[in-house]
């Protein structure tokens, strides 16, 4: 970038020099006389002719006015050509003054081309000198610049490579921001840091391999030890060598089978697992929709639900609420009282209907399978609803409790708060 600029400036200066020289060589044509100005002088002289006392020079030119006899009538300054002869020698312009058509005098216009040539020369020389000086300055500056920016950093690079060779990878290569070949030196530094990284990675890999081997050996040791212990017991109980071996093997196999059967057994016991409950996180604001869905007759007024994150299965919770509301619709009259409050570990939802409630004897059994309240005889149902609801709530780490409230049956649904189980 800088080099380009220096070259550009030098070229520019060279162009300037050429221009100056060219101007001097080619532009040196004879300079013309201002004919209009001369005409003005001539015209004013003719106007003023008989009496030149009042004549004023209307221009910046120097001139002398002679009468026909060669006597000086008017001159703008001293040391001008005052006779036709000296005017001819000086290459001055000589014009006839003809007021009213007759030649009455002569106008000698001073020739200034010698002076203008001189001044032109001087300007040219001065300009050239200036440009040359500037050129010299730029060259010297650029040489110094190159020395500082290229030669010196190379010395630095030499020291750096020495360090690398000796295995010292910690000291980074100092980079000057003015450095011309920053990217170049940078790659050296990248090389250093990459080398360093590679060394570190190698050491780390070695260490972790060792750890893995140690851990595995420990893990394998334990089952091997237990197998060994079992076979030792078998050997102690039986004197027969062959029987000893078989005995221990049989016990091990039986244990395995036992475990498998136990697993199978526990799985079979849980006959209700087909109603899978997959609780997850649920925004308490979603509860509102669930309640609205369940209370399709709009018997209850929706209470404000405190903001919290619930731990529940949305589908199952909906079923629980459906069930409670359906029961209320079946056994009671509107309205349904609904409230929600935050407890330590849960959000408790209290749903109380205006029915007759359940008799105290039946209350403990109401959540059991196929149990129905005595007042439910006339109403259809299998008596499974509350049982399943209770199961759902338990699976969601919550509870469902039923009691007789002030107005009717009071169901309390406690939904666990996420992260508080």
């Amino acid at each position: 970038m800088k080099t380009r600029m220096v070259i550009a400036v030098l070229l520019l200066l060279f162009a300037a020099e050429t221009a100056v020289l060219f101007f001097f060589a080619a532009g040196d044509t004879e300079d013309t006389q201002d004919a209009v100005l001369v005409n003005e002088i001539l015209q004013t002289l003719q106007e003023d002719w008989p009496d030149l006392k009042h004549h004023r020079n209307p221009s910046g030119l120097d001139y002398v006015v002679l009468d026909l006899d060669g006597a000086v009538l008017f001159k703008t300054r001293e040391s001008l050509s005052e006779s036709i002869n000296s005017a001819v020698r000086h290459r001055d312009t000589i014009l006839d003054i003809r007021p009213r058509g007759t030649t009455s005098g002569r106008l000698i216009l001073h020739n200034t081309s010698a002076q203008s040539l001189q001044s032109k020369k001087q300007t040219c020389i001065l300009l050239l000198m200036g440009v040359l000086l500037l050129q010299c300055g730029i060259c010297i500056w650029y040489l110094l610049y190159l020395n500082r920016r290229i030669i010196a950093p190379f010395h630095q690079l030499k020291e750096f490579s020495k360090r690398i060779a000796s295995g010292n990878l910690d000291i980074p290569l100092e980079m000057d921001r003015h450095n011309l070949f920053g990217a170049f030196t940078e790659s050296f530094d990248i090389m250093r840091s990459e080398l360093k990284k590679a060394r570190q990675a190698e050491a780390k890999a070695n260490a972790s391999k060792k750890e893995l081997v140690a851990e595995l050996s420990h893990d394998i040791k334990t089952p091997v030890a237990s197998i060994k212990a079992a076979s030792e017991v078998g050997a102690a109980l039986s004197g027969n060598e062959k029987l000893k071996d078989n005995y221990s093997q049989i016990i091990r196999k039986a244990d395995q089978i036992n475990t498998l059967i136990e697993n199978l057994f526990t799985a079979a016991l849980k006959d209700l697992t087909q109603l899978s409950v997959i609780p997850g996180d649920m925004d308490s604001r979603e509860l509102k929709t669930l309640l609205e869905n369940s209370d399709y007759l709009h018997w209850a007024e929706l209470p404000p639900v405190p903001d919290c994150l619930l731990y529940a299965d949305k589908l199952r919770l909906q079923q629980v609420l459906d069930n409670i509301f359906a029961n209320a619709y079946k056994y009671a009259a509107p309205p349904i009282l609904l409230s929600a409050s935050l407890e330590d570990w849960c959000l408790s939802l209290v749903i109380e209907d205006m029915g007759t409630g359940v008799s105290p004897e039946e209350l403990p059994h109401i959540k059991e399978k196929f149990k129905r309240g005595s007042n439910a005889q006339k109403v259809e149902g299998a008596g499974l609803g509350l049982y399943i609801s209770n199961y759902f709530m338990q699976e969601m780490a919550g509870t469902l409790s039923l009691a007789n409230g002030e107005n009717g049956l009071k169901a309390v649904v406690r939904i666990a708060l996420s992260g508080r189980i």
């Binding site: 980074p172 997850g280 925004d283 708060l417």
Partner: protein
Amino acid sequence: MKHVLLKTDGLSKSFSSGGALQHVLKNIDLELYEGDFTVIMGASGAGKSTLLYALSGMDTPTLGIITFGGTVISSLNQDSLALFRRKHCGFVFQQIYLIDGMSVMDNVLSAGLLLCSDKKALLEKAGKLFEAVKLPPETQNKFPTQISGGEAQRAGIVRALINQPEILFADEPTGALNSKTGLDVLGTLTAFNQQGQSVVMVTHDMRSALRGNRILYLKDGVILGECHLGVYTPDDTARHETLAAFLSEMGW
């Protein structure tokens, strides 16, 4: 009884990713005390950083309330949060996040000048902090790309502390550093904490966690447990064992 700086009530944070709602923080009730070096630990994906950014007003929670002093910050708008952060919080990021286009000093000053217009006092303060983190003056005028990660992170700490925040939040400050420079950074944080600076740091690195006097273990968006350690002293084997026991109990 320590003074409570920051308090959360039922803090939950959810993100929707690809249409499915993901709950990262779940009903977190937490109090942070003045002068504590609180460490939030947990496996990756446990919600550590989310918690940190919610606490620091960088992000607004989905549910719940966060109170700082007497102000509820969880309901502030973005600009008010920015004002809150500039005044009360300092941040140290895992990726350091210095602005590449500015020199180290300017990075620090750009934060400092937001609150303090007395340039001289500010420069003095910055100078002291730089000294405290052992950054020499020539580094201060370099650009972030020209200095090492450890130096950059220490500059990050200076930037975080320039406005004398009540709490310094650090998100795995040693995560992007090698072990030696990481130790330097931890040492700096410990030193500031021992001068009374409250620090909240997220880490999944036990060596970093040792620095704290209160360790919270976060799992699946829930604080599973916490462990209190005494004042940090180097090479305290008992402290190490206590922490190790706590972590293994937590399933670390």
